[in-house]
Point group: C2
Chain length 189, copies 2
């Protein structure tokens, strides 16, 4: 299975580590896991050694046997409690002074979802250019009132209201009352 010159190579070491940790966390031996997944334990041994270039079937069988989502194959980090107080956190740059987004949780390598806290004041609407394809934004208004959603079809939200919309097209956030606050989850699967 020769492979021509490609750009970057898959993170086998990362996957290998994930598999090994997953197996040990489940308290399984190589033999046992290989049996459950229906693959040869030699194959599994090589994979955990970071060698080779596994096929989709093999990876899938291992994921289901370990009850791991397929997407969890890449990434090690195991966090402990992390707290960001109300007045902390790095604000995201914005040309407008009446709109402030605070990054709460950036995606670890293998990107999936960012959490922001939005603080906005009435004024000119804050419009965002389309993001990468597949991005979905979730907004939950916690205080005030705002017009949120696709630029061509926004929705007015009151406290407690929730809205989700495609982020890969132009969209707006326009505060309608002073001290408007919201949670924004930007999901770029």
């Amino acid at each position: 299975m020769a492979q021509a010159g490609s750009t970057s190579k898959p993170p086998m070491n990362s996957i290998a580590a994930t598999l090994r940790r997953g197996r040990q966390a489940a308290g399984l031996s190589l033999t046992e896991l290989a049996h459950r997944a229906g693959i040869a334990k030699s194959t599994l041994s090589q994979l955990e050694a970071g060698q080779g270039n596994p096929s989709l079937e093999t990876l899938w069988a291992l994921c289901t046997a370990l009850e791991l989502p397929f997407s969890r194959l890449l990434d090690p980090p195991r966090p402990r409690v992390q707290v960001i107080r109300a007045d902390e956190g790095q604000a995201v740059a914005s040309a407008q002074a009446d709109y402030r987004a605070t990054l709460l949780s950036a995606c670890p390598p293998g990107a999936r979802r960012d959490l922001y806290r939005i603080d906005a004041e009435p004024g000119t609407p804050h419009t965002s250019a389309p993001h990468a394809p597949g991005v979905v934004e979730h907004v939950l208004l916690t205080a005030g009132r705002a017009l949120v959603g696709p630029a061509d079809d926004p929705v007015e939200l009151s406290p407690g209201d929730y809205a989700a919309y495609p982020g890969d097209q132009a969209h707006v956030f326009e505060a309608r009352e002073p001290a408007t606050q919201a949670i924004l989850a930007s999901e770029y699967l």
Copy 2:
């Protein structure tokens, strides 16, 4: 590459569809994408036909060439605006009357992250049994005050405070003031 009797087989059709849509969305031809990814166009053709059992290298090369996160290989759905008003949404069952979780956004197939709105009153702490390995919970307190986090090491949050902690061990949510509200993102990569 024979495969012994395993449980479920990988969703090749889904991956095939994702690849084809991704390629067409990028406006690339089979030849062009194959060249960029450094694979043979015949291989790509077969993959988009849902045939075969691609190797990790092949899939990775395609993902990087299409600028798709590896985890986005499974799932099509493209949403429009979705709104859940403050008094809407299905409440999640809970034995305790003073703790209510409202599901805002469930993961589409290929699961990754759920969004909840929490409404809680002071009383007995709401403890959760450990979830699947790898789960991370994010909490952003929007009103009131609460003790949140791992059962053995919780943190007190005030409005605007944010905390993230592993969800695969016992954890608590204990309201300290009436009408306590929070956003909870359960992330199971």
